[in-house]
């Protein structure tokens, strides 16, 4: 045919051999998607333990004073330890325990109102080894490093998101920011008056008015010490033929892990800090049912594993593809995965139970709701209409359809675990269609029509980009339309929806939610405080109620006490009656763990908690090869096809 007959048969043979070896090689390939870890064995000869986990996107910034999103926190938490930390097992109520500090700060009264928090750092804590320090050894952490961190928060060029809150309380912080802004450059030689360094390890933090929530800020990485050398060394410039990364992409902390490698769009690798000794595994705090599993770990040196490999997944589907193959040690159960791994009775499906997969539910300290615009001429002045809308929305059914009933239907603005949360509280305008119709009639729209007989039409703004989100919007629309009114769904991009929420150009908007910065009722109730109407804050409903404001202000300055709890209860009732928003859910984080990596901590205030993680590497190896068996029949069929093709080819070329 196309080749002279003599060379044809030899070429066919070559081709056949080549293709056959290709097929065999592919068959011999493992489907393991990971590159080699840092090492294969530890110094003592036991296997190097790598934990594989998932990240939804690249972290934006790893600067401890700047980054605010949960993805960045997931990497910062193991690298950059804070002055205080949350106890990994105690969640009801949450408990702070010292980390870099010797003990919880001592509170003193300050002349002229306000308080002074007296803090002492643990001695002998070192920054991770890095070329930015002399001889590449880590330097000891001192109170100066904390002072430097606070200065950085006030630096206008750094754009720290917490400045606006802290400057209201910490003495001298706002002035320092203004001065830096005026001069176009922040002067680090000026001492910050609010943070007084009193010794090598001791410092006083001055707040101008009572702010009990300050302790929570000390448990966040914004206030964690930073080495000035590191910031100056990692400047993003060319030095001796090599470009150093920016400090914001190369954090150097005191934590149990250091950032070893970060390939954008691909993965982040953390490797253990061999000199870590700041904290140890807690001695108590878990329930009796976990005693057997956790007692052996009590008081052990941390971290328990050697490396954390976080793969970046822009799509959620590959996450449970890899989990199923045993290549991820745990996964958060997202919307897609709920339905595929769980039965409607909220149990793990048979197959996964047999595999020994563990299911853990923890409710995030978060609340989601639909905002109703109090400044809208239709929705705003009509309390009955708002109550009717709220009563028409069947949250439980919504959660049944879209989340296999996993999240908690929200009855109040506070999520569980926060002081003042009322376990027995029922939303007075929860789902009740008959009542909703009656309320709508009272609101002036009997059967959804106004006095002139025109059907009431409301707009509902959502941010819907995926198929699931689209279906959710459709569901919500149908719920409201049960009242006989018409609801027009407007799909926005996320940015546009936020803009609308900020400007107040909406009637009903989905996508409002709040995830606790710290577990205090103030952090939720301030969402309805009148001074927090955008642009000042996140009171997107534009709810203004003088009585609410008065109680809120009083409650915010108090320490937790039965009296404070009483006020919080009152606030919850006011909101429930006024319905500035339609309650949706407290998001529950459902997590799956593989049998070789059981869950140790379940505190939603922690982001990963990798220093407490445990791993059984040999079990993982065994399960992986069991779950990824490669059947040979397709290779057989292919080879058969090649043989037939080759014979056919040879024959026809001979004929010619």
């Amino acid at each position: 045919m196309m080749f002279p007959p003599t060379s044809d048969s030899s070429k066919a043979r070559w081709l056949f051999a080549w293709l056959a070896s290709l097929v065999l090689w592919i068959a011999g390939c493992s489907n393991n998607p990971y590159p080699q870890p840092e090492r294969l064995v530890r110094e003592d000869g036991t296997p190097w333990q790598v934990r594989y986990s998932a990240l939804p996107e690249d972290p934006r910034s790893l600067d401890p004073q700047v980054s605010y999103d949960s993805v960045s926190r997931r990497i910062l938490e193991p690298v950059q330890e804070c002055l205080l930390e949350y106890h990994p097992m105690k969640t009801d109520p949450y408990e702070l325990r010292p980390c870099l500090l010797e003990a919880l700060p001592e509170r003193l009264d300050r002349p002229g109102g306000g308080h002074t928090y007296r803090c002492t750092l643990k001695a002998g804590i070192f920054f991770q080894e890095d070329p930015c320090f002399p001889e590449g050894k880590g330097r000891e952490v001192t109170a100066e490093d904390v002072h430097y961190a606070f200065q950085r928060i006030a630096d206008p060029k750094l754009e720290s998101p917490v400045l606006s809150t802290l400057q209201d309380y910490v003495v001298g912080m706002g002035e320092a920011f203004e001065e830096g802004r005026k001069n176009g450059r922040y002067d680090y030689s000026h001492r910050l008056s609010g943070l007084e360094v009193t010794g090598r390890y001791t410092f006083d933090l001055h707040v101008s008015r009572p702010y009990p929530q300050l302790l929570y800020w000390l448990a966040m990485h914004f206030t964690s010490p930073v080495a000035r050398e590191a910031v100056e060394y990692y400047d993003g410039q060319l030095h001796g033929g090599e470009t150093r990364p920016l400090f914001r992409f190369h954090p150097i902390g005191t934590g149990p892990f250091r950032l070893a490698e970060w390939k954008r769009n691909a993965f982040v690798r953390l490797v253990r800090n061999p000199h870590y000794k700041t904290t140890r595994f807690p001695e108590e705090g878990w329930g009796g049912d976990r005693e057997a599993a956790l007692r052996p770990l009590a008081g052990k040196a941390l971290p328990l594993i050697d490396e954390v490999h976080m793969t970046i997944f822009k799509e959620t589907i590959p996450i449970f593809m890899l989990f199923r193959q045993g290549y991820l040690d745990g996964m958060g159960l997202g919307k897609d995965a709920f339905s595929s791994l769980m039965t409607p009775s909220r149990e793990l499906s048979q197959k996964y139970r047999e595999r020994g997969v563990g299911l853990h539910r923890s409710t995030e300290p978060s609340t989601f709701f639909m905002s109703l615009n109090m400044e809208d001429p239709v929705v705003g002045p009509n309390k009955r209409l708002r109550q009717a809308l709220s009563s028409a929305f069947d949250v439980q059914k919504y959660l049944d359809v879209f989340a296999n009933s996993v999240p908690l239907a929200a009855q109040q603005i506070l999520p569980p675990g926060i002081a003042g949360y009322r376990k027995d509280f029922q939303n007075p305008y929860g789902y009740n269609l008959e009542r909703a119709k009656a309320l709508l009639a009272e609101a002036g729209y009997p059967s959804g029509r106004d006095a002139s007989g025109k059907v009431l039409e409301l707009t509902f703004d959502t941010a819907a980009t995926s198929a699931t989100e689209r279906a959710m919007a459709e569901f919500e629309q149908k719920q409201f339309e049960q009242l006989g009114i018409r609801v027009r769904v407007v799909e926005n991009t996320f940015a546009r929806l936020m803009e609308k929420l900020d400007q107040g150009s909406f009637q009903i908007a989905s996508g409002s939610g709040w995830m606790a910065d710290y577990p205090d009722p103030e952090n939720f109730l301030f969402l309805k405080y009148s001074k927090n109407v955008p642009p000042a804050g996140k009171n997107e409903s534009r709810y203004k109620n003088p009585e609410f404001d008065r109680l809120f202000e009083k409650m915010a300055a108090m320490e937790n006490s039965p009296e404070r709890e009483q006020i919080v209860h009152q606030l919850i009732e006011i909101l429930a009656e006024d319905v500035p928003m339609i309650m949706n859910m407290h998001r529950s984080q459902f997590g799956l763990t593989q049998p070789w990596a059981p869950q140790v901590q379940d505190n939603p205030m922690l982001e990963g908690g990798f220093k407490y993680a445990v791993l059984d590497v040999s079990l993982r190896e065994a399960k992986r090869s069991e779950w990824n068996a490669q059947p040979l029949w397709p290779v057989g069929i292919l080879a058969g096809l090649f043989v037939v093709g080759a014979i056919f080819g040879l024959r026809s070329s001979k004929k010619e």
């Binding site: 959620t316 589907i317 199923r324 791994l341 149990e347 699931t468 279906a471 459709e474 991009t493």
Partner: protein, 358 residues
């Protein structure tokens, strides 16, 4: 035009909502929508009637009639057209929207969740509930009948393809002929315009238009149309350059016919067959584009039954236990059949118009 007015208003920070509201109010009237559909069909009929007087078209039709593959695919296209049209025609039956297809499929009940084709119970391992009705191709996550959803998808495909073509074909043909006939600076200008538009990424254009006008099939068609005329203009310009060399143009010019007349009476009929072929083949591209855009999250809006959205949703359905495959199978098959028949018919048309090249 509405876009440009709106963009203009928006650029100067004025409130443009009023204008848009009026336009959308008009567009939501039932009679207006139905009039648009019948208008579109009338336009198509006019085009065919005009074509039937061209000798080239008549001989092409004769050849096409003998091409059984082409005729078969034409038949399939007509079926899709009919289904889509049924779902486009609004009936003044009830409050809210009700199309002819909705009325025809009113007997199909909605279940509580997934169910397999012809199953008697919902898809669930632990507590399957009995279905109310029968579903030939099963139901989706919200319990809607897959077959009905798939049929309704034809409307979305048709709307995207049709609306976009209505936008890009006139722009492309007009600019192409102008550039090819006048040459010189007109040609330079047109070439500049399409080189520039072709260099702006479509996705940016699309997202920008969707964000200004809001998500909807019309904005999607606008975005696709405003970027899609480039290829058409380029092709028509080339063909016009060739036609202008022909003696009939010189003869018309010698007879003192106006330029406008030469373009509309002589040039347009002579390039029209290329437009038809490109329209048919381009239509299939647009149907595929809708699917890809739905996957990227900038596709059809909430509530629209679209094959792209169904395929997108099927990715998570495939990894369920037990697997939900029927939504993917139904939507992919429908999409495949329409695109295939459009492509095959386009090829047949090309052969019929130009037997030598076939």
């Amino acid at each position: 035009m509405i876009v440009f007015a709106y963009v203009w208003v928006g650029a100067f920070g004025l409130q443009g909502d009023g204008l848009l509201d009026k336009a959308s109010l008009l567009a939501e009237r039932i009679w207006f929508q139905n009039a648009l559909i019948f208008g579109a069909y009338a336009l198509l009929a006019c085009l065919l009637w005009r074509g039937s007087r061209l000798e080239r078209w008549v001989s092409a039709w004769k050849r096409l009639r003998r091409d059984w593959i082409g005729m078969g695919s034409l038949g399939l296209i007509v079926v899709f057209l009919a289904v889509g049209t049924l779902d486009l025609v609004q009936l003044p039956i009830k409050e809210g929207k009700q199309t002819a297809l909705d009325a025809l499929s009113a007997f199909v009940v909605t279940e509580s969740g997934y169910s397999a084709p012809l199953a008697t119970h919902t898809l669930s391992l632990s507590n399957p509930t009995k279905l109310i009705g029968h579903h030939l191709l099963g139901t989706d996550a919200l319990g809607r009948d897959t077959l009905v959803r798939t049929l309704k998808g034809a409307r979305t495909a048709l709307l995207i393809g049709g609306l976009t073509s209505v936008i890009y074909i006139p722009i492309g043909v007009l600019l192409g002929i102008l550039a090819g006939y006048y040459r010189r600076w007109v040609d330079d200008l047109v070439q500049y315009a399409y080189s520039t538009i072709a260099s702006v990424p479509e996705i940016l254009m699309l997202v920008a238009i969707l964000m200004v006008l809001g998500k909807g099939l019309v904005s999607m068609a606008l975005a696709l149309g405003l970027t899609g005329w480039v290829g058409m203009a380029r092709m028509i310009r080339g063909e016009t350059l060739r036609q202008v060399e022909r003696p009939y143009v010189a003869a018309a010019q010698a007879l003192g016919q106006s330029n406008w007349k030469i373009m509309t009476r002589h040039l347009v009929p002579n390039v029209m067959h290329l437009v038809v072929i490109k329209f048919v083949l381009g239509f299939s591209g647009l149907v595929l584009a809708e699917a890809i855009l739905s996957y990227l999250g900038v596709g059809s809006p909430v509530g629209t039954a679209s094959w792209g959205a169904m395929i997108d949703a099927s990715r998570s359905e495939l990894s369920r236990e037990p697997m939900v495959w029927w939504n993917l199978a139904a939507s992919a098959t429908a999409l495949f059949l329409l695109v295939l028949s459009l492509n095959v018919f386009g090829d047949s048309l090309r052969r019929a118009f130009d037997p030598r090249r076939g």
